[in-house]
Symmetry: C2
């Protein structure tokens, strides 16, 4: 059968461009061996962390290879099966290649229930996004009711869930985002107490002292860079900083510089912890239970930006770095 | 009686100078009320962290007041007593003023045994220095035998103890210090496996890759600044960085800049924790027991730089920032 595949063509320098990717047409033999299933891609997740895998350097996951398919979280429909665990018309979630169709032995795939939640939610609030928000906030942030939480990248997929969980747990929640429209959304849709638009705020330090008069106990950092510097001036004793992402510097070709964090950490006995959700698998069952429950009770809501068309996957990925998404960015194939 | 006192005269700008301090002669009434003791200062501890208290800003301890005595860890002899808990000729340790004599109600003072160890040791290896090394390394570093520990400020008071405890616990220990003489001392006296002289090493990144071929699991950071940047390139997954001091930037009048730590922490799931020994009081009994035992068994040794004369206390403090001390710097009155 004829399929389409997206390859990594060049390692991006700075901000990725569509020319770093190549869409090719392939023919695959769709006849299955025992244990195999044929998958048709339904939704593709594009995420900032994929930028790191496009570099040729040691990290927590190996880099993507040049001229090989990019992979990410994908929801796919089982269209043929020689595997007892999967039937035709099942939907599965897992790390799969950017291909319209592919054959799998089922390893690492989870079945997802299209009746319980929209399929794309399993890439977002009931997938890595929700797990990242829940595990990072609870396991590193260790929130106590009454504390103040600041979230950067607050209107993004993870940030908007972090803020909502913060509110459920009794925190004062301040979100930082890059447009007035996003700030409105934080307050009206996601229940944040306050929002700061970093693009229209000259002096983040002063803005934070007004927004967080009692200081910052937990900072869930999705962006790194200059925004995160301003927070350091406001952290309280025993503050916890969750380093979940640093999207503001992922495209830097030189090593980014910031004010030294050490003096701030020392004088506040504060913690910074690099966070990768895959280290918190022990917490996943609890997290999924809580997230599903909160979602069912409508205590949690989510946004997603759905881009149509397999061929637009690279563009959707690139748009993450311009903040063009509200909430989780997914491609519907 | 006539006594001498050292006051903070100016808040230092940049590196402190002797003119930031003033030595005055005072007359005090040495007659005691019930519960009071008269103390004669024997040894004064000078420590880098005192620089922070000379700034007029919020920190974990309130700033020193201008035209008031500086205070630090002091060993003093009880020369008169109307307090049942203290007898004449007892020695005590505690946070006291930079005065040749002073009256105290005994609060916060611990008796120390001049028979068990030299008195100055209670300001060092059996005092805050040893507790800092032990609590920081064990409680944040959580060392496992076979891991690699890097210590900056390694020939300093805390650093030299950290390295020795590291060796006792089965770690590979690499020390960073600022002279060949100190590097020799690290290896010959304190049993470090390797040493790097940052003053004669052009490329710290390469030097570290040679010294720590298996990467760095624990970094006990006493200095901050550029030396600490180089370590980031070598940290292993789940590395622990203990931010104990940042002497290299304490005198900076502008906020120091460094490469952003966030991307390094994220990709290595690494931890940075600002460390202040006073938050670890629960561990003090265990620490004192271990340190005394190791000292008695000669598994631990220490250096101290003793400066003579009360009036030289400010100079001794200032010399810390030029690395003129080997091990703990104390003033003998």
């Amino acid at each position: 059968m004829k399929i389409q595949t997206i390859l990594l063509k060049n390692r991006p320098k700075g901000k990725p461009s569509t020319s770093d990717f190549e869409l090719i047409n392939e023919d695959i033999d769709e006849s299955l061996k025992n244990g195999q299933i044929l998958l048709e891609t339904t939704f593709i997740s594009v995420d900032p962390y994929l930028r790191g895998r496009m570099r040729d350097e040691k990290s927590y996951v190996p880099p993507f290879e040049l001229n090989k398919p990019v992979s990410s979280g994908i929801i796919a429909k089982v269209v043929d099966s020689k595997n007892d665990k999967f039937s035709i018309d099942d939907y599965v979630s897992g790390r799969l290649d950017w291909k319209t169709h592919q054959i799998s032995n089922g390893e690492g795939l989870l079945k997802v229930d299209a009746q319980k939640a929209p399929l794309s939610a399993y890439l977002g609030i009931l997938g890595m996004t929700g797990l990242t928000a829940y595990c990072g906030l609870t396991q590193i942030g260790k929130p106590k009711a009454g504390e103040t939480l600041v979230v950067s990248g607050a209107a993004g997929a993870v940030g908007s869930v972090v803020g909502q969980i913060g509110k459920i747990l009794g925190l004062t929640v301040i979100g930082i985002a890059g447009s007035d429209e996003k700030i409105d959304l934080l307050k009206s849709k996601f229940g944040f107490d306050q929002g700061i638009n970093y693009n229209t705020t000259d002096d983040m330090k002063t803005a934070l002292s007004i927004a967080a008069p009692n200081g910052v106990d937990i900072y869930f950092d999705n962006v790194g860079g200059p925004i995160s510097e301003a927070i350091l001036f406001h952290i309280n004793t025993f503050a916890r900083i969750i380093n979940c992402g640093a999207i503001s510097v992922y495209n830097d070709t030189e090593l980014p510089k910031s004010i030294s964090v050490q003096p701030f950490l020392i004088k506040n006995s504060a913690l910074m912890q690099g966070f990768i959700v895959s280290n918190y698998e022990d917490t996943f069952p609890e997290a999924m239970k809580q997230l599903s429950e909160w979602l069912a009770k409508e205590k949690l809501t989510y946004s997603e930006t759905i881009v149509n068309g397999f061929e637009n996957t690279p563009k959707a990925f690139i748009n993450l770095f311009d903040g063009k998404n509200k909430g989780k960015m997914v491609v519907e194939v």
